[in-house]
Amino acid sequence: MGLEEEAGGSAKILPPTEQELSAELDTKLQKYLRGEGADLEALKDKKLKGQLFVREKLYGNSAKAAAKFEKWLMPSEGGYLEAEGVEKTWRIKQDQLTREVDILSSRNQYDIVLKDLGPYTLDFTPSGRYMATAGRKGHVAIVDMKSMELIREMQVKETVRDIVFLHNESFFAVAQKKYPYIYNRDGIELHCLKEHGAVSRLQFLKNHFLLASINKFGQLRYQDVTTGEMIGNFRTGLGRTETMQINPYNGVVAVGHSAGTVSMWKPTSAAPLVKMLCHHGPISALAFHPNGHLMASCGREKKIKIWDLRKFEVVQTIPGHHAKTLDFSQKGLLAAGTGSYAQVLGDFSGTQNYSRYMGHSIAKGYQIGKVSFRPYEDVLVMGHSMGWSSILIPGSGEPNFDTWVANPFETSEQRREKEIHSLLDKLPPETIMLDPSKIGTLRPYKKREKPTKEEIEAEKEAAVESVKDIALKKKTKGRNKTSKRVMKRKVLIDKAKKPFLEKQMLEEGKVAGKKRNLGEETELPASLKRFVRKKAAV
């Protein structure tokens, strides 16, 4: 309509260089538009059409403004690594990078060796500022990554299988031998979550404040950490589970089973949303892309498969990797940890074709347990059997953070305010669904069909049953005769059946009428006409 004409007109006037700029703006615009506009031509209601036209125009303007101001609001463009000449990016080693990069960044490359306390697993806060690490033998530590300062370190004296931060760095949950425990930032034990039992993996949904846990038998539990209520307790029924991962796009929990299936769960239903057969062997690792459409899964048969979650189809199969852990970075790079080698794959052509980007091998004999990209930084941290290591992966982190979403330079006052605001915006567990943009849309119009015979029968039975449950008043003074009670009950049951029988009679009457009509059309032969009974004269 009017908008299109305007765009066409301006395209003629602009000089060629400005046309390129506007093309660039268009790609940025697509990011902010959040999908296609509504089809207004199909509407017949003029008032609604006018109102929607105004609204669509407003959306367009706000998206254009956001795209235009990106230039000033988000000055930095992120990291990159370009190979010159013959060299390939995947052959570049970390010490080569150290020479090229500034001192502050080279401080992010280190190895921390803690020999006796078992394979280390780690978790980051959403801002990437704090890291929680836990060794299998009970060593738990919270580290401030900016200043490399150890905030708190403790020994829980039990086997620790997993550790997660809750909504901020003040609280973290540790999956210990018998139960998961919640600790304060100072190491004070706040809660012992007895209902969960011995869990093997923990995950935290930060928008919903739900702590999800899974044990080796495949029992999935959701607990609300603000009220302490257990929201869901489901038996997956698909066998032994090794992996659990949250899809940050829609809050769905994906569990990988030993039969090669991945099932996706939401806290409000006992049946899984999706069950996909991914691999021939047990699933060893799962990871989700931040845009919510891609999932990477690795099976024991040494293949990494990239799935498109909208169509549930394989986009790419990468052979030759038996990755025990997978992670996607904010910019879409995939890290796979196999043995003592970490491989980083990137999709550079934009067509979801992942190819080798970088690699790093740590000392031989160290087994990588978990790889995790640090949010908003170009850093990959690997937890292995002898401690943890950190390496630089240029181009993996989001360069521009939003203060109100995740702030690596958060002060304590900002942290407190954010906690309150996120509690006010806490989502109810019903909002977890495969397609989160369905909220606020119309349910598709379904034409109601006539109930089938079985349905009518079922309704009749249900009505009779409900009538039978009614308790009749027991009369006194000799009026409570058994025969009378039985008659009364019979009358009630007949009354309940009456509407169904009437409907049935109507239907039969219609059918009989149709039959009669058909009958009347066929004429009797002349010789038999005298035997036709004539209607008696009144």
């Binding site: 990011k31 902010y32 959040r34 008032k47 956001a66 609001l73 988000m74 930095s76 992120g78 990291g79 990159y80 690594l81 370009e82 190979a83 010159e84 060299e87 570049i92 080569q96 990078l97 090229e100 990069v101 500034d102 502050l104 960044s105 900016k146 928008n207 796009y249 829609n250 809050g251 931040p290 845009n291 919510g292 908003y376 170009d378 630089l392 240029p394 982190g397 989001e398 360069p399 521009n400 953070f401 939003d402 203060t403 109100w404 979403v405 995740a406 690596p408 330079f409 002060t411 900002q414 006010l424 915006d425 806490k426 989502l427 109810p428 909002t431 989160p436 943009s437 909220i439 606020g440």
Partner: protein, 451 residues
């Protein structure tokens, strides 16, 4: 090889001194905000609930008259004052801020039927059933302070006519005013006899309003159920529209001066385009008894109506149903309503001798707001409007407590209307298609248009 790695220096991202504001960085990328629709929905729900918590529209009552209030007038130059006239002839000027009487004017022997102020705010004109029309100079008294002593002022001029007067209105930007009673009479401030007279039919003309955009155009309603438009430049009346029931009051839309809304006896208000009177632009239905008075907001986007059923309702200018209803146990039949000139307050005058002051937006925070507060309010309003069609939010936004008689009356009306509709449908179904034609609601109550 070319390498660049993200490295943020603390100085660039934190503040220099403790007196500075904290630095804020923004990235509006939707990727950083998963499940934004669900978050917006939760915020809409919370906004709806908070709105209901803060909804306290009644500010206060202005007590002083000893008989029912029949009419009110706004002073166009003075925001804080309102004139009111009662059925015993008493005219008062009120200070809205302190809710006290500033001045008491001598008034009339009988009921005061009409009050109006001239456009420059210097003269107050009142007319009553004692066949007199008073002109009072209102610039001479001191500015309105909350004083117990009410000044009594003498009238500047009293003009006597032949019949009782029913309504008065002043021309916008001119110095003519119109009184109605047996006929429509146009007066000048200085003449003691009307300059011009219009007569169409023999019935009393009960209300009059001058058009804000076209100063020579005026609309009147008469007790023969008609609405007539007059042009002062012509010597004859321009157009007449006859409806099925009587119109009690008319108000022109100040922002779209060609449209006016008529408050009718059949519990609805009809909005018309003055150029095309054969069909109503919009029918506003929600009252359960006759609508007595109507006034537009200066924004032209909504209007307030007062009705015989003891409620005051606020309607959008193009919507069929009211967005708000105000009622109190003590407020009896509402005879006049006025929207304040800053579109923030509503003043209603009723049968129980009180003028009541209400907020136009029930949960609005009055007073000076910080820009942050203002932005927050705007955001909450916008997010609530985006999700107000969803069942949970709709239930909270729509909820209004109705007094029992109104609730019952509404149900009764609903039953009656549904029954009539069903009958009509059945008649249609059992007759030849096309023989029975349903008239649209906008035309149904109009009998005919006369030139």
């Amino acid at each position: 090889m070319k390498v660049k790695v993200i490295s943020r220096s603390t100085d660039e991202f934190t503040r220099e001194r403790s007196q500075d504001l904290q630095r804020v960085f923004r990235n509006f990328d939707p990727k950083l905000r998963p499940q934004e629709k669900a978050v917006e929905y939760v915020r809409a729900l919370n906004a709806a609930k908070l709105e209901k918590i803060f909804a306290r529209p009644f500010i206060g009552a202005m007590d002083g008259h000893i008989d029912a209030i029949s009419c009110m007038a706004k002073n166009p130059n003075f925001l804080k004052g309102i004139f009111s006239g009662s059925m015993d002839g008493d005219i008062r000027l009120w200070d809205i801020a302190s809710r006290k009487t500033v001045c008491q004017f001598p008034g009339h022997q009988g009921a005061v039927r009409g009050l109006t102020a001239s456009t420059d705010g210097s003269t107050l004109i009142s007319c009553g059933t004692d066949c007199t029309c008073c002109l009072i100079n209102v610039l001479s008294f001191p500015s309105c302070h909350a004083d117990c002593a009410c000044l009594h002022i003498q009238a500047n001029a009293v003009y006597v006519g032949k019949n009782a007067y029913w309504a008065v209105d002043h021309q916008w930007g001119g110095d003519l005013f119109a009184t109605t009673g047996a006929r429509v009479e146009i007066w000048n401030h200085n003449r003691s006899q009307p300059v011009n007279t219009f007569e169409w039919g023999t019935d009393t003309v009960i209300s009059v309003r001058f058009n804000p955009g076209e100063p020579n155009l005026l609309a009147t309603s008469a007790s023969d159920r008609s609405i007539a438009l007059y042009d002062l430049r012509m010597s004859t009346p321009a157009r007449k529209l006859i409806m099925q029931t009587r119109t009690n009051s008319i108000a022109w839309n100040p922002m779209e001066p060609l449209n006016f809304t008529a408050a009718n006896e059949d519990c609805s208000c009809y909005s018309y385009d003055a150029r095309k009177l054969d069909e109503a632009k919009c029918v506003h239905k929600d009252h359960v008894s006759a609508v007595m008075d109507i006034d537009y907001s200066p924004t032209g986007r909504e209007f307030v109506t007062g009705s015989y059923d003891r409620t005051v309702r606020i309607f959008p200018y193009n919507g069929g149903h009211s967005r708000e209803i105000y009622h109190t146990k003590r407020m009896q039949r509402v005879f006049c309503v006025k929207f304040s000139s800053d579109a923030s307050y509503i003043i209603s005058g009723s049968d129980d001798t009180n003028l009541r002051l209400w907020k136009a937006k029930a949960s609005e925070q009055m007073g000076v707001l910080l820009p942050r507060e203002q932005k927050k309010h705007e955001y909450q309003e916008a997010v609530k409007n985006r999700y107000k069609h969803l069942p949970e939010v709709k239930r909270i936004v729509r909820h209004r407590h109705l007094p029992r008689p109104i609730y019952k009356a509404k149900e009764l009306r609903r039953t009656v209307i549904d029954a009539e509709k069903k009958k009509e449908e059945r008649r249609k179904a059992h007759s030849t298609p096309g023989s029975i034609v349903t008239e649209s609601v906008r035309k149904r109550r109009i009998i005919r248009e006369v030139e």
